[in-house]
Symmetry: C2
Subunit: 282 residues, 2 copies
Amino acid sequence: MLKVPKHQVAGHEAIGGNLGPLIDDSGRFYKPLQDGERGTKELAFYHSLSSDTRLPDRIRKFFPAFYGSQLLEASDGSGLRPHLVLQDLASNHLDPSILDVKMGSRTWYPEASDDYIQRCLEKDRTTTTVSLGFRISGLQIYENKESGFWKPSRKDVLNFTVDNVRLVLRKFVSSNSPVDSNMKPDCCFAHSVYGGPAGILEQLLELKTWFEDQTVYHFNSSSLLILFDKESLWEGRTPFAEVKLIDFAHVEEGKGVIDHNFLGGLCSFIKFISEILTDLNE
Amino acid sequence: MLKVPKHQVAGHEAIGGNLGPLIDDSGRFYKPLQDGERGTKELAFYHSLSSDTRLPDRIRKFFPAFYGSQLLEASDGSGLRPHLVLQDLASNHLDPSILDVKMGSRTWYPEASDDYIQRCLEKDRTTTTVSLGFRISGLQIYENKESGFWKPSRKDVLNFTVDNVRLVLRKFVSSNSPVDSNMKPDCCFAHSVYGGPAGILEQLLELKTWFEDQTVYHFNSSSLLILFDKESLWEGRTPFAEVKLIDFAHVEEGKGVIDHNFLGGLCSFIKFISEILTDLNE
C-alpha cells in the first residue's frame, strides 16, 4: 500500500495529483525517475555506488540504501513509470526534525547549457548559495504534540538570508517555539544533536575527510539531509541524529579532481555548526 | 634607482611604457595603485592586515611585508601616482621558479555588477577555474644557466587544460627540460620542494587550517605565489620554497562566513600536490 510521505521537506511532492515520491510501510521510498537525462543519471549513480568497492563503509552509511528500480503507477496518474527504490530515511524516526541543505556555491555543472547555467546562477545569487556555499532548501522542526511541526513555506525558505540561516540552525536544536521570531533559541539540544562522538558535527567531519580525497564523484546540486527526533533523544536512543546525502540527478564523474564545490560548502556549513557549539561553551 | 622586475609572471607589466610595478635594489616592490575602488581596496586591505592583532604569525608570514604607500613617478610616464610599497618576493631567490595560481572556482564577488560577473564567469568557464577551483595565471621554470627560464606565453597559460595543469605542476619540480612536451617530468625535486616539514605541501596545509576557521576576509581573485630556487636547493639552504598570498584588489569582508570559495580551490590544489608526492612513493 503506497502513500504520500509525511515528512518530505523539499523537492516535488505527490500531493494533489502531482508527480512525486511515495512510501510504503516497510520503510521504502519510491522516487519517480525524472524525465530525460536526470533520471538516467540518478539511477546510474545509485548502481555505480552500490558496486563501488572503493567506498569505505564509514562513507556508505551516508547514502540511502538502494534496492534497485521498479515500475509503479505514478502518483500523477500518468501510468506506469520507473521508480528508484530507496530507504525511507524518515521511517527510523518518530516526528523527525529535518533540514535539507543544498550544497555548493554553484548548483550548475560545467558541461550544462548556457541557458541552464544562467537560470541556476540567478537562483544561486538570490539565495545563500553563492554567499554561504549552501542553501537551506526545506525544513521542518518538531515542536511538541500539540503544535506539531514548524514548516516554513518554500517561498520563505528560498528567501532565507545569511542571518535567517544562522537562526534556523539554532532553532533546529532548541526547545522553545521556532515560530516566535523574537524568542532567542535556547539551543538546549545542541550538545546532544550537533555535538558528541555520534553527533552531526562528527559525521560532517567524517564526510569532509572523504571529500578532501575522493575524486570519483562531483555532487552537483545534491543535498545533505539532517534528521533527528526528540523522542529518541528523550529515550536515550542512538543514533538519533543522522546526516545523509540525497539527490543525485546531476552527479558527474570527478575525473581525478576533488569536488571542491561541495567541499567548500561543507566546510562553511561545518563552521556554522561548530560555532553554535563554541558559543554554548563560552 | 627603480627598475622593472625581472621575475614577474602575471599581472600588468611596466614594459614598453605601460603601467606596472617597479622594484629597487633593497628588496622592495612598488605596485601602482589600481584605478578606482580596486586600488583603494588593496591599500585598505594591507593597512587592515598590518593592524590585525588576531592574525597569528604563522599566517602573517604568508603575506608580503607591507611598508605603506608612496607617491612615485608611474612607469607609464603619466606622472606621480600612489604605489603600494611591498616586499619584493623574488628578491630572496636566485633565478626563482615561480607559479602564480589564481584561487577559487569563481573570480567574481557577489556584490559585483552583472556585467562584471558575466565577464569573469566567461573566463572562469574557459579556464580551469570552474573545473579545478583554481587556474594557473603565470609561471616561469628555471632550467639551467644556458637555457635560462621556460616561460610560456600568457595566451598559452590561459589555455591550460586540467591535464596541462597536472603536467606543469610536475615540470615545476623536475630536472629535465620543461620545454620538451614529450619528455616525462622526472619530479626529482618534488620531495625537497613539495614535501618535507618546511615544504610547499606543509605550508598549504597550514594555510588550509586557517581558512577553515577565519571569517574576516574573502580573498576574491587573489593568487597563491609559489617560489623556489634550485640554487638554494643545491646549497642546502632553507626555506628555499615559499607560498605567498598576493593580489588583494577584490578582498571583501567575510561577515562571519568562511571563504569557502578560496578554501575549496585550496583543497583541490593540495590534492594535486599531494598526489605528485604519493605517486613518487609508489
